[in-house]
């Protein structure tokens, strides 16, 4: 996902929020990861907005994508220049209304935004894990989120919502903890990466791992593999856009010049944009986390893990109500991938809605202001909430 974080145009916001953390799996009760390794203690950074109602029936879990964090909406301080990453969707009266729902968003396991990941210290040392951090999966991330919800006293989630890698967590939640998930909204996502998606991730990882500063993941005491991470981010950004959005956004326009420089500076606006995005990213993100999270996304295979190879069998494990949304110009997770999950849901008699939103912005469309997406999510949540109360 890209960073489109802007202030809400109407000036509406949840206001000040606070990042909190929860630590669990203290040795000797470490969490046993899917790869077999033990990990603990585990800290999960999280934020909440809105109020949990008396019967605890209004909890909404939001799952972030690759480079996101727990800061889904609102501001950390009065002079905070930027709100949370989905402030356009989450807030009072917005698509995910903080006046009605209690919203939880946590930083995924393996990330570097407050939750335990490769840049965290090994237990009882000041030494970062680095390459010793075990490979985590989307399933492990979801299990850590489950532990957090347990800590918050939430037994049922009205809806779990997320796009891209966040959408994978949504799907994982629905089949792993069906008793907890009333409804699920997977946006611009897939049940398994295509070879194309894995290929781009691999090129991005290679950019990091061939940076001499990467040093087998052990770089926290010295110079960081900034160049590798920046190139990785540039590759990511290409996959988040579309031919059309790039044509409209940049075309062949030159950056601050009227003619070619006849050297290898950034001549084109698109070059300059990618360089800027890459350079900006290294200030806030850890290269090892990028490796671990992209690997988790590549390993994610709902049908293999939950359906012995069958998508239909995988979705037979859930009874959740679904709203599946794809975007026309998303070539990273194209509509056919959403349709194939919808097909499996139909075969299981699940209550599912599907909408393919016409958008030119590629994969990133799910993060951009869209009246349609806002309305879909708002009404889906409303009807789910009222149906759930009746039952």
């Amino acid at each position: 996902m890209s960073e489109y974080i802007e202030h809400d145009k109407a000036g509406v916001s949840i206001g000040l929020v606070e990042k909190k953390s929860y630590t669990f799996a203290d040795p000797p009760n470490e969490m046993i990861l899917e790869c077999g390794a033990k990990l603990g203690p585990i800290t999960i950074a999280y934020e909440t907005c809105g109020k949990l109602n008396d019967d605890k029936s209004n909890a909404v879990l939001i799952c972030h994508a690759l480079s996101g964090d727990s800061h889904v909406a609102g501001y950390y301080s009065n002079d905070d220049p930027k709100p949370g990453w989905w402030d356009i969707m989450v807030g009072p009266g917005k698509g995910i209304d903080t006046n009605k729902y209690f919203i939880v968003c946590s930083n995924i396991l393996g990330s570097c935004m407050g939750s335990t990941g490769p840049s965290s210290h090994k237990p009882k040392t000041v030494e970062p894990y680095g390459h010793d951090f075990p490979v985590v999966t989307i399933g492990d991330m979801v299990r850590a989120q489950k532990a957090l919800l347990g800590h918050l006293g939430i037994k049922k989630i009205l809806s779990v919502i997320g796009g891209s890698i966040g959408g994978m967590q949504v799907l994982e939640w629905s089949v792993r903890y069906p008793e907890m998930v009333v409804s699920a909204v997977p946006l611009a996502t897939t049940t398994r990466h295509s070879a194309l998606a894995i290929a781009f991730n691999e090129v991005a990882r290679q950019a990091i791992m061939t940076d001499p500063n990467w040093n087998n993941g052990d770089y926290y005491a010295g110079p960081k593999p900034d160049i590798g991470l920046a190139v990785a981010r540039m590759i990511g950004h290409i996959t988040y856009l579309s031919d059309e959005s790039m044509r409209l956004k940049f075309g062949r326009r030159l950056q601050d010049k009227s003619d070619f420089s006849f050297n290898f500076d950034a001549d084109f606006q698109v070059e300059s944009y990618l360089r800027y995005q890459g350079a900006k990213f290294v200030d806030r993100f850890d290269a090892n986390s990028f490796l671990y999270i992209t690997k988790a996304a590549d390993y994610f295979d709902l049908e293999k893990q939950h359906g012995s190879g069958s998508t239909v069998k995988a979705f037979s494990k859930t009874g959740a109500k679904f709203l599946v949304v794809s975007f026309t110009s998303d070539w990273l997770y194209p509509t056919y991938q959403s349709k194939s999950m919808v097909k499996a849901m139909k075969k299981n008699g699940l209550d599912v809605s599907f909408c393919e939103i016409a958008a030119q912005w590629g994969h990133d469309a799910f993060l951009l202001p869209s009246e349609r997406l806002t309305l879909l999510i708002r009404s889906f949540l409303e009807s789910t909430y009222s149906e759930n109360r009746k039952e």
Binding site: V342, K346, K347, D351, C355, E356, L375, L376
Partner: protein, 200 residues
Amino acid sequence: MRFDLQIIASWIEKGSKVLDLGCGEGDLLYFLKHNREVKCTGIERKESRVARCIEKGLSVLQGDINTEVLDYPDNTFDYVVLSQTLQQVYEPPELIRSILRIGKKGIVSFPNFSYWRVRMQLLLTGYAPITRQLPYEWYNTPNIRVITLKDFRKFSKQVGFKILREIAVNSHSYDRSGKFITFLPDLYATYGIFLIGKEK
């Protein structure tokens, strides 16, 4: 709600499971959900209409009815509704067979091409007929099939399904009211509504 949809709704029992093919903005489904406690699903091709349905709290899938029906297991629904869409279907026999595979019963409505005004226009003017029910020129009509009530009865024998109930009405395409036609329906009805079932 459109007159033919009111009749269709009156045929559907409380608590049934209904699939509406080409559900538009979900008028029928919304009515059934809130008045008949029906568990309903719709399929609609157009994004804006799908979005309107979801905004109404309905479960609707965006897609092509001809292929979307293939995913459902046998007898998933009590009723599968195809209202004012048959005349736009490329392969009607396949779709009707699918309807009666995934549904216990089907409800099909379509504009009657043997309505007397249609006949008269063709006979007297020599132009392809344009009526309030079929308001298109030959070059911009979405209706690729010309069906009459008689044709549909013949079609039921050819394809092999039963007509369980048949109502002929006279109303305009978006009218809320209309009349039942019992006298010479082939001539005086603008629409036919059929409840269909499996042969055996």
